[in-house]
Amino acid sequence: MRKKPSYQLMQGNEAAAEGALAAGVNFFAGYPITPSTEIAEILADRLPANGGKFIQMEDEIGSIAAIIGASIGGCKSLTATSGPGFSLMQENLGFACLAEVPLVIVNVMRGGPSTGMPTSPSQGDVMQSRWGTHGDHPIIVLSPASVEETFHYTIKAVNLAEKYRNPVIVLMDEVIGHMRARVSLPPWPMVERVNRVKPNMPPEWYNPYERQASGVAPMAAFGDGYRYHVTGLVHDAKGFPTANPNEARDNLRGLFAKIERGFREICLVDYEEMEDAEHAIVAYGCMVLSARSALEQLREAGHRVGLIKLGTLWPFPRFALERYLPQLKNIIVPELNLGQVYREVLRVNAGHANIEKINRINGTIITPEEIIKTVKGLIR
């Protein structure tokens, strides 16, 4: 084990693990996969010392199954994976959405499809993180753009999962996951921890899926004396399978209603130099780093360019764009995929501004110079 230095140079993956611990995560199940493995290694070391538990499962299907089981047992649970592993998790991710089990998946994206480019950066899983499972359900996806932000977003992810009884995905890319930077992290007592609401009524009155005014139902842990049923079948407020159309509607619509209610809180967006901007770069993950560098140089050259940084990708923070659409001539969307957030921007824009995409899927990242060139070309 490494000696603790007095200063902190931290890797993105390490920050995710630190954030998990700071948020009170006490259960991790996972399977080794590049480029996310450091998260499992660190938590294997650190969880038992903090009274938590770590288990290396036989595959990623088992990993997400185990964290669902542990979450039902009352643990704050998290797993970390990458491309192929995330694909394997999809079925049980759907289970957790329908059964409303709080959990966090950290997906450090790598080049795909299939085995793809295991050690190269990509942002190809944006749409998969939203639509990877079968059926309709909401999901929360956060995308950090620095090492320090990875720490804070992982905490936020755990808190949102607990509050909304919903899986949350921390969608990182290899650049953020593997880069090391100087960080200054708050001590754990300063970190806000949100805990799921537990039932306080007598067990015989408890209906595990009866939503309160918040849109979320209190969640008892197995073993707490509230014997109830959890299933991946569409269910009624008691948790029992139903084929009644009204009950099915209430179940599925309710999933969306709770997330819609929390929409503003869930959506993390930062605006940089947007006040007088005529052109906006929309970026997330490592593309924020290229965009910031480009922005600095473009502003220096006197161009009215700003940055809309998406910290939340799903639900898509459409208000962040709508707010600035009247003043924007061009929107530039650099992504390490063929235009996954670009499609969302197109959808929200509805013809207001010109939208330009910059795409890259060869395992390298888009440089500030490429963004500058595109923006200058549009302005001219």
Partner: protein
């Protein structure tokens, strides 16, 4: 022993989700009955039991009984149960799973749970077929038998589940049939009391699919067949291989003591915490 009506009142969610979905003559309810009697004999608190299942006819068992019940995805009951057991080691975790659920789609989880020796009791309801989807061959369908995906006879060789889990490291293996309800109850009792990963394989019948396709008769005839082919372990020990041909050995086939996963993990926690302080 607890009477049927007391059993229903005490353990079933009788005023909620009945009638059940199983076909007339199905063996699943009988096995569930033996399990409940075992639990009753052991005087376990309902709050202390987590009953976990996968998908298929057997997967529907938990919804009807008044425990902490978890109906998971196809083949995945064991990893769900593993996470739950680690989170709540004080719970008695019992898994109900079918032959397809546990040895086809969930086969990998089964062997790894055996290897880990985590304190979970797994009851495998082996009826040689996929019943819920209408009668396709499973990893335990005997060679030459028919199913709707092998109408001309199964050309695959079946798993011997008890041998498989023993080789994979289970520390308790028992086998019985849905005919031998008393023996089954006693084996399940011992399995629940066993510290470590225990497997109880229960030979049962699906008159609706397997029985019909293979002309095995109805439920009664299929139960009579179970009665005929079952040989108790002690009796089998005195029989020649020729005599054992076509028989199914029942009873407690294996019981061994090895370190249990959750207990071992507790020592890891102690070690890590003392290192952390040091």
């Amino acid at each position: 022993m607890i009477s049927n009506s007391e059993l229903v009142k005490k353990y079933f969610r009788y005023n909620k989700k009945f009638p059940h979905i199983w076909c007339p003559g199905c063996g699943i309810g009988t096995i569930l009955g033996s399990m409940l009697r075992a639990i009753d004999d052991l005087e376990l608190e309902k709050d202390d039991i987590a009953f976990v299942s996968g998908i298929g006819c057997t997967g529907r068992a938990p919804v009807y009984v008044d425990f902490n019940t978890l109906h998971t995805t196809h083949g995945r009951a064991l990893p769900f149960a593993t996470g739950l057991k680690l989170a709540r080691p004080e719970l008695k975790v019992i898994v109900a799973t079918g032959d397809g659920d546990s040895t086809a789609i969930g086969g990998n989880h089964l062997i790894h749970a055996c290897r880990r020796n985590i304190d979970i009791t797994t009851i495998i309801f082996n009826n040689y077929i996929y019943g819920m989807t209408g009668g396709q061959y499973s990893p335990t369908t005997p060679h030459g038998d028919k199913a709707y995906t092998c109408k001309l006879g199964n050309i695959e060789r079946p798993f011997n589940i008890s041998a498989l889990v023993e080789a994979a490291g289970a520390t308790f293996v028992g086998r019985s049939t849905s005919y031998h309800t008393l023996q089954l109850k006693n084996i399940i009792k011992r399995a629940i009391q066993h510290k470590g990963f225990s497997v109880v394989e229960v030979i049962t019948h699906c008159p609706t699919t397997y029985g019909r396709i293979n002309r095995k008769g109805g439920a009664v005839e299929m139960l009579e067949w179970q009665k005929e082919v079952a040989v108790d372990r002690e009796k089998a020990a005195k029989m020649s291989p020729e005599e054992l041909e076509g028989k199914i050995v029942t009873g407690i086939l294996l019981e061994r003591e090895l370190p249990e996963f959750c207990e071992q993990y507790d020592t890891i926690i102690e070690k890590a915490q003392s290192l952390d302080k040091g």
